[in-house]
């Protein structure tokens, strides 16, 4: 693990410092960056986790300039390190003094047609999006149970609401993690902690490059970030982002199979 602690002394504390301690898993995703910027503006203490240390340093500098009270980074592979989640978390708790919010952004879209022929690809899609995310979530929940408070937000997808031929491997993993978080939220109910899955629709990020991004359903990271930030505050087992996906997915879930099977969705 490569944890870096560096706060420029010349940077005065920002005007509003709420001192909230936030761990961001998959901190290089465009949606994570947009969300972290909201926390930075509030003067939070941030710990960013992703694979590429150099790229993390860039985002850390950005968040310091935007007002974060402190920014630390840990360059690890979240998917392969999920089995050691508890050890990593206890190290990070020492670094930033505790965890108030934890947000999990990383994911792997993968290639559905490759997954149908290549067991490695199928396994990777399921392991990154479901297994590793569940392991990190459980480790964070364990920490929250001890302190009787804390918020966990996991970025899921509307793709998990109904299996469709175009992306059912990714969809199944995301549907699985949504269900997992629903159960985790139930198990945390007696404590003061909460867990939330956010089912995002189409968001214009590098992950979705190559798709046709015209049309009214596409949102920007800056548009969904305030919703994620608010969900971390308020809790609730599910949120759709943006809101209209709730109704779109209600319709898609209701389409009978004999009609669905005639589409290319």
């Amino acid at each position: 693990m490569n944890t870096e602690t560096e706060t420029s002394a010349s940077e005065r504390a920002p005007p509003a410092s709420n001192g909230r301690r936030v761990v961001i898993l998959g901190a290089l995703s465009a949606i994570a960056v947009a969300t972290a910027r909201i926390y930075a503006g509030e003067g939070a203490r941030l710990l960013l986790v992703a694979r590429n240390g150099e790229r993390l340093d860039r985002i850390a500098a950005d968040l310091r300039a935007r007002g974060a009270a402190s920014v630390d980074t840990a360059a690890i592979d979240l998917a392969s390190e999920a089995a050691n989640a508890r050890q990593h978390l206890s190290g990070w708790v020492k670094t930033i003094g505790g965890i108030d919010h934890a947000l999990l952004f990383y994911g792997y879209l993968g290639d559905q047609s490759a997954a149908q022929t290549d067991p490695e690809e199928l396994s990777r899609i399921l392991a990154v999006n479901f297994t590793s995310a569940a392991q990190w979530s459980e480790a964070i929940a364990a920490h929250y149970r001890k302190q009787d408070r804390g918020a966990l937000v996991v970025i899921s997808s509307v793709a998990g609401d109904r299996g469709r031929q175009s992306n059912y491997a990714y969809g199944a993993a995301k549907g699985g993690i949504s269900l997992f978080i629903q159960g985790l939220a139930h198990s945390l109910a007696p404590t003061g902690a909460h867990a939330t899955a956010i089912k995002l629709g189409f968001v214009d990020t590098p992950m979705t490059d190559g798709m046709d991004k015209s049309g009214p359903l596409w949102a920007t990271p800056a548009q969904v970030a305030p919703m994620i930030h608010k969900a971390a505050e308020k809790g609730g087992p599910f949120h759709y982002g943006p809101w209209f996906w709730r109704w779109i997915m209600l319709i898609i879930r209701s389409v009978p199979a004999f009609i669905m099977h005639r589409t290319k969705l």
Partner: protein, 446 residues
């Protein structure tokens, strides 16, 4: 062998500039991390040059590279450092002025100067050496730039400082001297996010010049709005807006999202002469009722149109032209009258006409537009040849008076008009990176 452009850039038909007149296919790449920039630049060649672009608020073709490659810099939008004690801010070129303000304002700092839109990147602000309502006191944006990160095809990435000839070629250099990677500038202190403003109406353009002589010098921000359709005694009637930063009101930044949007192109009839006239008369009446002192937040005062997303679609599917000229001080009053007469006679309504007196600060950039004198900015809906004829008539008036036009607003001037206004262009040309070009640059240097 340079990397293959076709693998790094995606074809698109949808790229337009703010005026929405120029339509052409492009190849587009949008790096999300600075380490993705080098291979993109390496793939460019003098035969297939590219251009770095930002939020595309330039109106014509200075931010387009028709049939060529463009690098969308808005994904490189990280702040690098901000010192809340000294006000020195350093950020990647794709950071918008709007995002800078979100960080600056709560700490009691502001942009040294700002154009009428905050949806402009730092790279664009440098490449066009943008100006604002405080030009007479602050100069252009380039005047506050302390250092620049520039990446050229023929050298390692370099840090440029004031005094370096390449620094001054890059300020106002239309993105042609290299890809601007980051910008460092000195912010200015503000006591609050509010202004003490005053609106004074004037009966004609000569009264504007009188008013500016009397009142202009005691205000940091000045600009006037002109009704271009009124003729005779009322030629150039309008409202002068004056303001200084207020001591009162607190340091709350603006709301980032626009509240209103124009989601599609307005039908062609929406902006005919009658409706522009009605709009101008109504606006004039509205401004008159508000005449006197007010205490606005900077957002409506400095960025009145940013609250309506895609306001440019109001001009319909054919788009519109923006025409911005500057005339040297001695001739300014007479020439402005000539221009307004030509516009009034043509009956081509200008939806928005803005007049502003520039200060005497020496231009920082080799190719900077602002110079001492009076600038007039006009919008003309695209009505084809009749609009082109009017603008050519105005070109003649401007060139004869020793004035020039603003490349960021232009998509049509002739090479002769450009070269007459910018005789220093040949000196600038030696700084142009051979793998960079734009529609504008090819047109005006042919």
């Amino acid at each position: 062998m340079p990397p293959d452009q076709n693998q790094l850039f995606q074809p698109t038909e949808k790229l337009v500039s703010w005026g929405r007149v120029v339509r052409a296919p492009h190849r587009l790449a949008k790096p999300g991390h600075p380490d993705e920039l080098a291979p993109l630049i390496e793939s460019l060649t003098p035969e297939e040059p590219g251009l770095a672009i930002g939020l595309r608020r330039s109106y014509g073709d200075s931010n387009l590279n028709p049939n060529g490659a463009v690098i969308d810099m808005t994904g490189l939008d990280a702040m690098i450092a901000f010192d809340r004690d000294s006000g020195l801010m350093r950020a990647e070129a794709g950071v918008s002025l709007s995002q800078c303000l979100q960080v600056l304002v709560p700490s009691g700092w502001f942009l040294p100067t700002t154009p009428g839109s905050r949806f402009v990147t730092l790279g664009g602000a440098v490449a066009n050496d943008v100006h604002g309502k405080n030009h007479h006191s602050a100069g252009t944006f380039g005047a506050s730039v302390t250092r620049l990160g520039l990446r050229r095809s023929d050298s390692e990435p370099q840090t440029l400082e004031r005094g370096d000839p390449l620094f001054h070629a890059t300020i106002g250099g239309l993105g042609l001297t290299g890809v601007i990677e980051w910008v460092e500038f000195q912010a200015v202190r503000i006591p609050s996010a509010y202004l003490d403003a005053e609106d004074i109406s004037f009966a004609n353009v000569n009264d504007y010049f009188e008013l500016m002589k009397e009142r202009g010098a005691s205000f940091e921000h000045t600009m006037a709005w002109i009704d271009c359709l009124a003729g005779g005694d009322q030629l150039g009637r309008g409202v002068l807006s004056l303001a200084n930063w207020s001591e009162k009101g607190g340091l709350k930044p603006h709301r980032e999202d626009p509240r209103l949007a124009v989601p599609f192109n307005a039908p062609g009839f929406a902006l005919n002469t009658a409706s522009v006239k009605a709009f101008n008369t109504a606006y004039n009446a509205l401004k008159k009722t508000r005449e006197g002192a007010s205490h606005p937040h900077y957002e409506p005062f400095l960025y009145p149109l940013d609250s309506i997303a895609n306001w440019n679609r109001m001009y319909g599917s054919k788009g519109f032209f923006q025409y911005q000229s500057v005339i040297p001080p001695d001739a300014a009053q007479d020439v402005t009258v000539d221009m307004l007469q030509a516009i009034a006679a043509s009956g081509q309504g200008s939806f928005l006409a803005v007049i502003k007196t520039f200060g005497s600060a020496e231009p920082v950039g080799l190719l900077s537009f602002p110079m001492e004198g009076v600038t007039l900015a006009l919008d003309f809906p695209n009505k084809g040849e009749t609009t082109q004829n009017l603008m050519r008539r105005l070109d003649d008036i401007v060139t004869a008076a020793g004035g020039r036009l603003y490349p960021a607003k232009d998509g049509r001037i002739s090479a002769e008009t450009f070269k007459a206004g910018y005789p220093q262009w040949e000196g600038f040309n030696q700084f142009v990176d051979p793998v960079l070009s734009s529609g504008f640059w090819r047109r005006v240097t042919q």
